[in-house]
C-alpha cells in the first residue's frame, strides 16, 4: 500500500497517532465481534450459570428454523423492492433535473433533504399517513374498495415499510444518479442526436449503459441500507408484525438477542450477517475500480 | 556558505534497485554545479539525498566540514526550490516566505526585514499579501525562489525549477537565477534535463547516466571533449553525428585517420563541424545527398544521407546556403573536429 515518496522517520509517533482509532476499533469492534463468533459456538443454560461448547449446533438450529429462513426470504424481497422502487424514482427525478439546466439546483435542494431524516422518523411519518383509523391514505384507498390495515395484513405491513424505507433513500440515489448523468460526455449525446436518435432512444442506448457502474454501486449500497439501516423504520411502524410478517434478519437478531435473550442463536445469526456484509463489501470493492473508469 | 562533498554516495531501493551507484563529487564554496541527464538517471534522487529528503544508503555527505548523512533537511542549512514550487496554498506570499524563519525562532522584526529584502530583490513586493493561486506561473516561481533566499542558507538546491514555465519565461528566469547566484555567491546545486539550461547556468556540469557520473567539467570542456558517446550525444543540439571509422576510411585520405587513438571505431562530428566549403587545415571529404532543408532564421539545418550509407546526419550552417533538396553535397570535416570513440565501451579513446 502506498505512502508518500518521502516519509517521516519517527520511532513512536505513528503508533501514537493510530492509537485512538485502533483502541476504539479493538474494544468496540474486533473484541465484540470475536465474542459473537465465540458465543455462536456455545450454549448458556436458562439461568446463565453454565456455558458449554456446542460446536455448530446453533448454526444448524438457526438454519433449520423455518422462522429464520422465512426472515431471510422476506429480507430479500424487502431489499429488492426498496432498491427497485427508490432507484427507479431517483433515476427518473435525476434524469429530469439533468434536463433543466437553470432550475437544477433549486430542484436538487428540494429533493435531497430526506437524507437527513432518521429512519425512525421516516417510519413514523408514513405510519401516520397509513394509520388505519385516522390516516389519510387508508381513507383514500377506501374509495377504491381497499381496506387498509397493516396491523392485520402482513402484505400491507410489508408495503408500508417498503414505501417508508424507499422514500428516505430516494435522495441518496438521486444525488449519485445526478452525478453520474452529469459526467456523461455531452459530445456523445450530440453525436447520437446527429445520428437521428430520439431523446428516449438516446437515453436507453447511450446514457443508461454509461450509468451502469453507478447503478451497480447503488444496488450494493441500497441492499446494505435495507439490511441494516431499516431497523428504525421497522421498529417505528410494525415492530416486525403482524406476527412475523415484517421480521427482517437484523430485526430478528435484535428480538432474539435483546428481547428473547437467546444469546447462542442470536450470535450465530450475527455471524451469518457478518458473512453477508463481508460478501457485499467484497463485491463493492471488486467493482469500484470499474466505476472509476467512467 | 559552504562546500558540499559527496563521497561514494549510493541509493538502493527495496528489491535491490540501484538509483545512484556511487557518486563522488566535490562542490566548492560558492560554485554553481548543474546535475544534468535524461529522466531516470538518478539526478533528482541525488539532489534529494543532499537535501535530506531521501535516505543515503551508503557513502558520506558533507556540507562544509559536517557529515550530514543523518540530519533532517532543516538541520542541513540548505534551501530548496521545487519543480512545482510547493507553495503553501493557504498562506499569503509573505507567510510562505516567513514560515521557515518562524520555525527557526527568528524574531518578528528580523523576519520582516528579510522577507522585504528578498521580495525587493525578486520584485514580488506588491504580491506579499496575495495567495499563491492569485499569481501567475512566473510570479510563483519567484516566490519559491524567495522562500529559499530569505533563509540565507549555506546552499541552494534547485530541482528542475524552470520546467513548468513557458519557453520565453524560462529563458528570462534562467538569466535571473544566474545573476542572483553571482551576486549572492551561494553554493548551488541545480538539477535539469535540459542541456541548454545546464550549459548556460553551470560553472561546472555533472553529466549523469544510469546512476553514475559520466563526466564532470566546465560546460565548454564537456562540449569540446565529451568523455563518452553518451555525453557527446546528450550535450549539444542538434546531437553529435556518429560515423563509423570504416566508412570514412574508404572515401578519404586514409593517412588522416591513421593517427586516431587505438581502439577507435566510431568518430563523432558536431553538426557545426561539417562544412560545405573546404577549410584550410587537413580535412576529410564526404559525399552526401540532401534529404531535408530546414531554415531556422540565423542558421539552417541540413538533414543529409551519406552516400552508400543509411547514416542519418545533421549539419548546421549559418545563414541560408543555396542548396536544393535531393542535391548531392560535398561535406568537409577538419581533422581536429573528430571525436574518437570506442563503440563497445562507449568511451572516448586516447584518454
Amino acid at each position: 500500500m502506498q505512502t508518500k515518496r518521502s516519509t517521516y522517520r519517527h520511532r513512536w509517533l505513528p503508533y501514537l497517532l493510530l492509537a485512538p482509532q485502533l483502541a476504539i476499533t479493538l474494544v468496540f469492534f474486533i473484541w465484540p465481534a470475536s465474542q459473537a463468533v465465540k458465543s455462536s459456538f456455545e450454549r448458556t443454560d436458562a439461568f446463565g450459570f453454565k456455558t458449554t461448547f456446542v460446536g455448530l449446533s446453533n448454526y444448524a438450529r438457526v438454519l433449520a428454523d423455518p422462522g429464520y429462513l422465512n426472515a431471510l426470504g422476506r429480507t430479500a424481497i424487502f431489499a429488492v423492492s426498496v432498491t427497485v422502487l427508490s432507484m427507479g424514482v431517483a433515476l427518473l427525478l435525476a434524469v429530469c433535473v439533468n434536463r433543466v439546466i437553470k432550475s437544477a439546483r433549486f430542484y436538487t435542494t428540494l429533493l435531497v433533504w430526506p437524507y437527513a431524516v432518521a429512519p425512525v422518523v421516516a417510519g413514523v411519518l408514513w405510519w401516520f399517513l397509513f394509520n388505519p383509523t385516522i390516516g389519510l391514505l387508508p381513507h383514500l384507498l377506501d374509495w377504491f374498495g381497499i381496506n387498509w390495515n397493516h396491523r392485520v395484513s402482513g402484505t400491507q405491513a410489508m408495503i408500508l415499510i417498503t414505501i417508508a424505507a424507499a422514500w428516505k433513500q430516494i435522495s441518496y440515489n438521486f444525488l449519485f444518479f445526478l452525478a453520474g448523468l452529469q459526467s456523461v460526455p455531452h459530445s456523445l449525446i450530440e453525436a447520437a442526436a446527429i445520428d437521428g436518435a430520439t431523446p428516449f432512444k438516446r437515453f436507453w442506448t447511450i446514457v443508461f449503459p454509461l450509468l451502469s457502474p453507478t447503478t451497480f454501486f447503488l444496488m450494493i449500497i441500497n441492499i446494505n441500507y435495507v439490511m441494516f439501516d431499516t431497523f428504525g423504520v421497522i421498529d417505528a411502524t410494525t415492530a416486525g408484525g403482524p406476527g412475523t410478517a415484517t421480521m427482517t434478519l437484523v430485526y430478528k437478531v435484535y428480538t432474539d438477542g435483546v428481547a428473547g435473550l437467546n444469546i447462542g442463536s442470536s450470535s450465530a445469526q450475527s455471524v451469518i450477517l457478518m458473512g453477508i456484509v463481508i460478501l457485499l463489501t467484497f463485491i463493492q470493492f471488486r467493482y469500484v475500480e470499474r466505476r472509476v473508469n467512467y | 556558505m559552504a562546500s558540499i562533498t559527496l563521497e561514494g554516495l549510493k541509493k538502493t531501493y527495496a528489491g535491490d534497485v540501484q538509483a545512484v551507484k556511487g557518486v563522488d563529487l566535490a562542490i566548492k564554496d560558492g560554485e554553481f554545479v548543474v546535475l544534468v541527464g535524461p529522466s531516470g538517471c538518478g539526478k533528482s534522487t541525488l539532489l534529494r539525498m543532499v537535501a535530506g529528503l531521501e535516505t543515503i544508503s551508503d557513502g558520506t555527505l558533507k556540507i562544509g566540514d559536517r557529515v550530514v548523512n543523518d540530519l533532517e533537511p532543516a538541520e542541513r542549512d540548505i534551501a530548496m526550490v521545487f519543480q512545482n514550487y510547493a507553495l503553501y496554498p493557504h498562506m499569503t506570499v509573505y507567510n510562505n516566505l516567513a514560515y521557515g524563519l518562524k520555525n527557526r525562532g527568528f524574531k518578528k522584526p528580523e523576519i520582516e526585514e528579510r522577507v522585504r529584502h528578498a521580495a525587493r530583490m525578486l520584485e514580488i513586493e506588491e504580491f506579499l499579501t496575495r495567495k499563491p493561486r492569485q499569481l501567475s506561473g512566473g510570479q510563483r516561481q519567484r516566490v519559491a525562489m524567495g522562500r529559499a533566499l530569505v533563509r540565507e542558507p549555506a546552499a541552494f538546491l534547485f530541482d528542475e525549477p524552470l520546467s513548468n514555465l513557458d519557453a520565453k519565461l524560462r529563458v528570462q528566469m534562467r538569466v535571473e537565477i544566474k545573476q542572483l547566484q553571482r551576486r549572492l555567491k551561494t553554493t548551488s546545486l541545480y538539477v535539469t534535463h535540459d542541456q541548454l539550461e545546464a550549459m548556460t547556468l553551470g560553472d561546472r556540469l555533472v553529466v549523469l547516466n544510469a546512476g553514475q557520473i559520466e563526466q564532470v567539467g566546465t560546460p565548454m570542456e564537456i562540449y569540446a571533449r565529451p568523455a563518452s558517446m553518451f555525453v557527446a550525444s546528450f550535450i549539444g543540439s542538434p546531437a553529435m553525428n556518429m560515423v563509423p571509422v570504416e566508412y570514412l576510411a574508404t572515401r578519404s585520405t586514409e593517412s588522416l585517420l591513421d593517427d586516431l587513438p587505438a581502439g577507435t571505431d566510431v568518430v563523432g562530428i558536431r553538426p557545426d563541424d561539417m562544412h560545405l566549403t573546404p577549410p584550410s587545415t587537413p580535412h576529410l571529404v564526404v559525399e552526401s545527398t540532401l534529404a531535408l532543408f530546414e531554415a531556422a532564421g540565423a542558421e539552417s539545418h541540413l538533414y543529409v544521407r551519406l552516400s552508400e550509407s543509411d547514416q542519418p546526419t545533421v549539419i548546421r550552417v549559418s545563414g541560408q546556403p543555396p542548396v536544393r533538396e535531393g542535391e548531392t553535397l560535398r561535406l568537409y570535416v577538419a581533422r581536429e573536429a573528430l571525436h574518437p570513440f570506442d563503440s563497445a565501451s562507449g568511451k572516448r579513446t586516447g584518454g
Binding site: 517521516y8 430520439t198 | 510547493a86 496554498p89
Partner: protein, 282 residues
C-alpha cells in the same frame, strides 16, 4: 435537436413538481398535525390545513414535555442529540485524520496490519454485533453516558479512507518544503495539512453529524435513563404510549423538531453535503 422540446420541457417540470410534492407530503402532513389540538384527531381523517395550536403545542413540547408519556422535555432530547451528533462527527474526524496521517506520511512496522484492522470495521456495523458490544459497554460502566453513546460509533474506516485518499493527492513537495523549512511532522500536520484539508473536513463533518443524529438502535440499547434520550429515541417512546392517549399533535411536533436540525444542516451546507456524500462513498 428538432424534436418537440416544449412538450418534453413541460413534462420534465411536471414530473419534478410531482416528485418534490410526493417527497415533501408526509412531512407536510406531520407538520399540519402538530398545529392542531389533540381533539382534532378523534373523529375522521387527518386535517390537511393548518390549525391554530402551533404555539401551544411547540411551547409545551419544548418546555415541560409530555409528562404522561414519560418522555423528558424536547429541548433536553434535542440537546442530547446535538451532543451525540457533534461528538460522533468530531470524534470520527479526529481519530480518522490522525490515523490517515500516520498511514500516509510514515513508514513503520505493522503499518499494513493497522490498515487492515481499520478496514475490518467496514464489515462490522453496529447491527451485527449488538449484544457483545452492549456487553462491553456495560462492563466498562458506560451505559447511560455520552461516552457509551458515542465511542462505539466513532471508529470509521470510511472517514479514514477518505482522508487517506485526499492526502495522497496533496503534492509531495508540500511536506518536503515544510521539512526544509524546519517543520516536524506535527507542525506540518497543524500548519499545512489541516488548513489544506479544511473543505474535506467540513464536508465529512456534515455527513457524520447526520449519521450521529439519526442513530437509533444504539441509543435504544445503552440508554435507559430519560436524561440521556436522544430525540429520535424519544419519538419512539412517545409512540409506544400513543396507543392509549393518541396525542398526535404532540408526537408530530416532536417529529418535526427532530427533523429541523439535520435538514437545516443539509440545506444550508448543500454543496459541502453533496461533496461529502459523493466522495466518502467511493
Amino acid at each position: 435537436m428538432v424534436e418537440n422540446r416544449r412538450f418534453l420541457n413541460v413534462l420534465t417540470h411536471l414530473v419534478l413538481i410531482i416528485g418534490v410534492l410526493v417527497v415533501a407530503f408526509p412531512v407536510y402532513v406531520a407538520f399540519i398535525a402538530s398545529t392542531h389540538e389533540a381533539g382534532a384527531f378523534v373523529r375522521g381523517v387527518i386535517p390537511l390545513t393548518p390549525g391554530d395550536h402551533f404555539w401551544a403545542t411547540y411551547s409545551q413540547m419544548l418546555g415541560s414535555g409530555w409528562q404522561v408519556a414519560g418522555a423528558p422535555p424536547v429541548w433536553l432530547m434535542l440537546a442530547n442529540s446535538t451532543i451525540m451528533a457533534l461528538a460522533i462527527a468530531f470524534g470520527k474526524i479526529t481519530i480518522s485524520i490522525l490515523s490517515a496521517f500516520a498511514i500516509v506520511y510514515f513508514r513503520f512496522r505493522f503499518r499494513l496490519l493497522a490498515f487492515w484492522i481499520i478496514f475490518i470495521t467496514l464489515m462490522l456495523p453496529v447491527e451485527v454485533r449488538i449484544i457483545p458490544t452492549y456487553a462491553v459497554v456495560a462492563n466498562l460502566g458506560m451505559l447511560n453516558s455520552y461516552a457509551g453513546l458515542t465511542l462505539p460509533l466513532i471508529a470509521s474506516a470510511t472517514a479514514t479512507f477518505l482522508f487517506r485518499q485526499f492526502f495522497m493527492t496533496v503534492p509531495e513537495e508540500l511536506m518536503e518544503a515544510s521539512r526544509v523549512d524546519g517543520a516536524g511532522p506535527m507542525k506540518f500536520f497543524k500548519d499545512i495539512l489541516l488548513p489544506v484539508s479544511i473543505t474535506n473536513i467540513a464536508a465529512l463533518f456534515v455527513i457524520m453529524f447526520i449519521y450521529g443524529w439519526v442513530q437509533y438502535l444504539w441509543p435504544l440499547l445503552v440508554t435507559t435513563q430519560e436524561d440521556f434520550y436522544t430525540i429520535v429515541l424519544g419519538i419512539k417512546r412517545l409512540m409506544a404510549s400513543s396507543d392509549r392517549v393518541p396525542a398526535w399533535n404532540l408526537i408530530m411536533a416532536t417529529v418535526t423538531l427532530a427533523m429541523v436540525p439535520p435538514v437545516m444542516v443539509v440545506l444550508l451546507m448543500q454543496k459541502l453535503f453533496v461533496k461529502g456524500l459523493t466522495e466518502t462513498e467511493k
